[in-house]
Amino acid sequence: MSLNDLWFLLIAVLFTGFFFLEGFDFGVGMATGLVPRNDQQKRLMINTIGPFWDANEVWLITAAGAMFAAFPHWYATMFSGYYLVFVFILLGLILRGVSFEFRGKAEGKWWTGTWDACILMGSFLPPMLFGMAFAALVKGVPIQQNMDLKAGFSDVFNGYTVWIGLTVVGMCLMHGLTFISLRTIGEVRDRARVIASKFLPILGVLLAGMVVWTYFATDLFARRGPYMYAAVAVGIVAYVLSWYFLKQRREGWAFGMTGAIILLTFVSLFVGLFPRFMVSSINSAFDLTIYNASSSHYTLKAMTIVAATLLPFVLAYQAWSYFVFHKRLSEKDHLEY
C-alpha cells in the first residue's frame, strides 16, 4: 500500500468516524424537537451527548486538516468550489455548538426557545448539506483541467443530492433516537424507542431510494459491483436487525445496527470513489485522485509517522471517555446543561 492509499484510507476513516459519532449527536439534536414532553426531558437528552459532541466534531476538523496536509488540491477544490454549502454548514455547526453551552446558562422562554431552535437547525443543516455535497461529488461536478471547481446551483442542488441529503439526515436521526434510548431511563427512553420504531419505515424508503438512485446516477455499482451488492445485502440485514432489537428493547444492539447502516453507507462511498476524491463531470481525466491531488512523498511520510504515534492515544482516551459515561441518565440526575 502506498502512502497515498494510506492517507485516502485515513481520511475515509475520519469522515466515516465523524458521521458515525457526530451522527448520533446530530440525531439527538434533531430529536429534541420530537421526543421530550417537557423541558427537563429535553435537558436530559442534551446531557446524554454533553461529554461527547465536542470531541465528535473534532473528527471533522481532523478530517479537514488531514485533507489540507495530505491532499491540498482536494481541500482547495472542494472548499472553494462548494463555497455557499460550507457557509451554511459552518453557520449550523457554530450555532449548534454554542447553543448546548448557552441554553442552560440563563432562563426565560425566549432564551431557551432561541437556543432550542438553533440546536434543531444546527443539527439538521450539516448532515443534510454534507450528504448533498458528497452526493454531488460522486455524481460529478464541473472540475476543470486546472482543478478549479465552480459548482453551479444545480450541481449541488438536484433531485439526487437532495434525496441523499435527506437520507443522511434520516440515518442520523435514527442513530440519535437509538442513542437516547440507550443512554436514558424512564419516559424519554420509551418515547425515543417508540418514535424510532415508527420512523424506521420512512428510513427504509429513504435507504432503498438511495441505493436505486445511486445505481443509476453514479458509476459506483459499475466500478465496484461485487462490493456494492454485498454492502446492500449487509445493510438490509442491519436494517431488519435494528427493527428486531428495538422491539426486544435491546437498545445497545439497536444502536449498533443504526451505526452499521451509517458505516456501510460511507465506507461504500469511499470504496466506490477510490482512487478518486471528486469526479469531474467535464472529463474523467480531470478527476481529482489520490495521485494528482496529493502532497509530496516527504510530507506524507512525516504525517504518517505523526499519525501512527498519536492515533493510538487519541482512540484510547476517547474510548475511555465513553466508558466513564456509559451509565444511563435519568431526569433525577444532576444535569449539567
Binding site: G50, P51, D54, A55, V58, T62, A64, G65, A66, F68, A69, A70, P72, H73, Y75, A76, F79, S80, G81, Y83, L84, F86, V87, L91, L93, I94, L95, V98, E101, F102, K105, M147, L149, L182, R183, I185, R249, R250, E251, G252, S295, S296, Y298, T299, M303, V306, A307, L310, V314, Y317, Q318, S321, V324, H326, K327, S330, K332, D333, H334, E336
Partner: protein, 468 residues
C-alpha cells in the same frame, strides 16, 4: 469591493474575533488547573469552588472559541484556495497535527472534566483539566508554527510550482516560532489572569464574598504579574529578530521612511503621510531604536524607501510597503497596553501581599476592572501589526496576498459569508459578555449534587438499577 478585499476583510474580522476567545481559554484553563491543584493539595473546598466558578466562564468561552475555530480552518480552502494549493504541502501539516494532538485532547478532557466531578477520582479529574490546559497551549504552538512559516518560510523547496516540505523539524525550530510562541502564550495567560483579577476586583469593591474573591484575586494577580513581565521579554527578542528577517515590517512599525541615523532614535509618535512618504511631525527618544534593535547604543535601521528599492530588485516591480499607519499605531497601542498591564499587576500584587485588599481602594478596583480590556487591546493590536505588517505577502517572499485568493469564488458569495459570519460573531460576543456578567453577578454558589443512580444500558430491558 472585489473578492480579494472582501476575503481579506473576512479573514481579519473572523481572526480578530476568534482571537478574543482563544486567549481566554488558554489563560482560564491554566488558572482553573492551578486552583484545582490547590484544592487537591490543600484539601480545602474553597479552591474547589474557585475551580468550579471560574470554570463556568471557561466553559462559556470554550464553546465559542471551538466553534469559531472551525471557520478558521475551513476558510483557507474557501477563500484562499490558491494559497492552500501553494503551501498546503507545508502549511497543512501543522494544522492537521493541531487537530490530532491538541483539539482531541482539549475536547475530550473538557467533557470529562465538566461531567466527571462525581465519576472520577480527584487526581484523575485534576489531570483532565491539566490536559485541557496543555491542549490549548499545544494548539497555540502548532497554529503559530504554521503562522511562523508565513512570516519566515523555512524547511521547504519550490517544486511543481508549489512549496514542498523538505525538513519537518525546521518548521518547529523556526526561530520566528521560538519568539512568537512564548510571546503569544504569555499574552494569552495574562488575558485569563486579568479577566479573573478584574471580576474579583469588582466583587471586592462591592465587598461581596470576600473569602472567595480575595484568594481568587491573589492567584490571578500572581499569574498576571509573571506573565505580563514575560510578554515584553519575548516581544523584545521578536522585534530584534524582525530587524533581521522582515526589516520592512520593522521600518513600517517605526514609521521610518529614510534610513535612520546611527545611533537610531525611537519615534514615540508621528504624523504619518503614506502618500508623500514622510512624517509631518515626530517625537523621538535618542538611542532607543538602536537599543531596541540591537541591544546596544549604536547601529542604524534601514528605512522603507531603501528597502522598497531592494525588494524591487529581488522580487520585481511592485509596492512592498505595508499599510504604514496601521502597522505603526498598532505597534504603539500594543506596547502601551502591555506597559499598563505591568503597572496594574505590580500594584495589585503589592496590595495583595501587604494585605491591603479591603480598605479604600475603590479607584484601584475600578482600574482593575478596566484592566480586563488591556490584554484584548494588546492581543488585537499585536496581531494586526504582525499580519498587516507582512503585506503584500501571505508567505513572505514567496506568495503575495493577491495571488492567494480563490479564483472561482465571486464577490457576492464572500460578501454574504462576510456579513453572516460577522453578524453571528458579534451576536456571540454579546451573548458571551452577557453571560459573563450574569455569572459574575450571581457569584459562586454550590448546589448539592444528588446521589447518582446507576443503570446498566446493555442489560435486556435495561431495568436492573443499581443504587450506589
Amino acid at each position: 469591493m472585489d473578492v480579494l478585499e472582501l476575503a481579506r476583510l473576512q479573514f481579519a474580522t473572523t481572526t480578530i474575533l476568534h482571537f478574543v476567545y482563544v486567549p481566554i481559554s488558554i489563560g482560564l484553563s491554566l488558572l482553573v488547573a492551578i486552583m484545582e491543584t490547590m484544592y487537591v493539595i490543600k484539601k480545602n473546598d474553597l479552591y474547589k469552588k474557585m475551580a468550579q466558578f471560574w470554570g463556568t466562564f471557561l466553559l462559556i468561552n470554550f464553546a465559542v472559541g471551538v466553534v469559531t475555530g472551525i471557520l478558521q480552518e475551513f476558510q483557507f480552502g474557501m477563500n484562499w484556495s490558491d494559497f492552500s494549493r501553494f503551501v498546503g504541502d507545508v502549511f497543512g501539516t501543522p494544522l492537521a497535527i493541531e487537530a490530532l494532538l491538541a483539539f482531541f485532547l482539549e475536547s475530550t478532557f473538557i467533557g470529562l472534566w465538566v461531567f466527571g466531578w462525581e465519576r472520577l477520582s480527584k487526581a484523575v479529574h485534576l489531570t483532565c483539566m491539566w490536559l485541557v490546559s496543555i491542549g490549548t497551549m499545544l494548539s497555540a504552538l502548532w497554529i503559530l508554527a504554521a503562522n511562523s512559516f508565513m512570516q519566515r518560510p523555512v524547511g521547504y523547496e519550490i517544486h511543481n510550482g508549489r512549496a514542498e516540505m523538505k525538513d519537518f523539524f525546521a518548521l518547529l525550530t523556526n526561530e520566528q516560532l521560538l519568539w512568537e510562541f512564548p510571546h503569544t502564550l504569555f499574552a494569552a495567560i495574562a488575558t485569563g489572569a486579568f479577566l479573573v483579577a478584574g471580576i474579583s476586583a469588582w466583587k471586592l469593591m462591592h465587598k461581596k464574598n470576600l473569602d472567595f474573591f480575595k484568594p481568587s484575586f491573589k492567584v490571578s494577580i500572581i499569574v498576571a504579574l509573571i506573565s505580563s513581565m514575560l510578554i515584553p521579554m519575548f516581544g523584545h527578542g521578536q522585534a530584534q529578530y524582525l530587524v533581521e528577517t522582515q526589516p520592512m515590517k520593522m521600518a513600517a512599525s517605526e514609521g521610518l521612511w529614510e534610513n535612520s541615523s546611527d545611533p537610531a532614535p525611537w519615534t514615540v509618535i508621528a504624523g504619518i503621510d503614506p502618500e508623500k512618504k514622510e512624517n509631518s511631525f515626530e517625537f523621538k527618544v535618542p538611542y532607543a531604536l538602536s537599543l531596541l534593535s540591537y541591544n546596544k547604543l549604536s547601529g542604524a535601521v534601514l528605512g522603507m524607501n531603501e528597502l522598497q528599492a531592494q525588494y524591487e530588485k529581488a522580487y520585481g516591480p511592485g509596492n512592498y510597503i505595508p499599510p504604514v499607519r496601521t502597522t505603526f499605531w498598532s505597534f504603539r497601542i500594543m506596547i502601551a497596553a502591555g506597559c499598563a498591564m505591568i503597572v496594574l499587576a505590580l500594584y495589585g500584587a503589592y496590595l495583595t501581599f501587604r494585605k491591603k485588599l479591603e480598605g479604600s481602594h475603590r479607584w484601584f478596583f475600578r482600574l482593575m476592572m478596566l484592566g480586563i480590556s488591556l490584554p484584548f487591546i494588546g492581543n488585537t493590536a499585536g496581531w494586526i501589526m504582525t499580519e498587516v505588517g507582512r503585506q503584500p505577502w501571505t508567505v513572505f517572499g514567496l506568495l503575495q496576498t493577491k495571488d492567494s485568493v480563490s479564483p472561482t469564488v465571486v464577490a457576492g458569495e464572500v460578501l454574504f459569508s462576510l456579513i453572516s459570519f460577522t453578524a453571528l460573531y458579534l451576536i456571540l460576543t454579546g451573548v458571551l459578555a452577557f453571560l459573563f456578567v450574569r455569572t459574575a453577578r450571581k457569584g459562586p454558589d454550590i448546589e448539592p449534587h444528588q446521589e447518582t443512580v446507576i443503570h446498566d444500558p446493555f442489560a435486556q430491558g435495561g431495568d436492573t438499577n443499581v443504587v450506589k
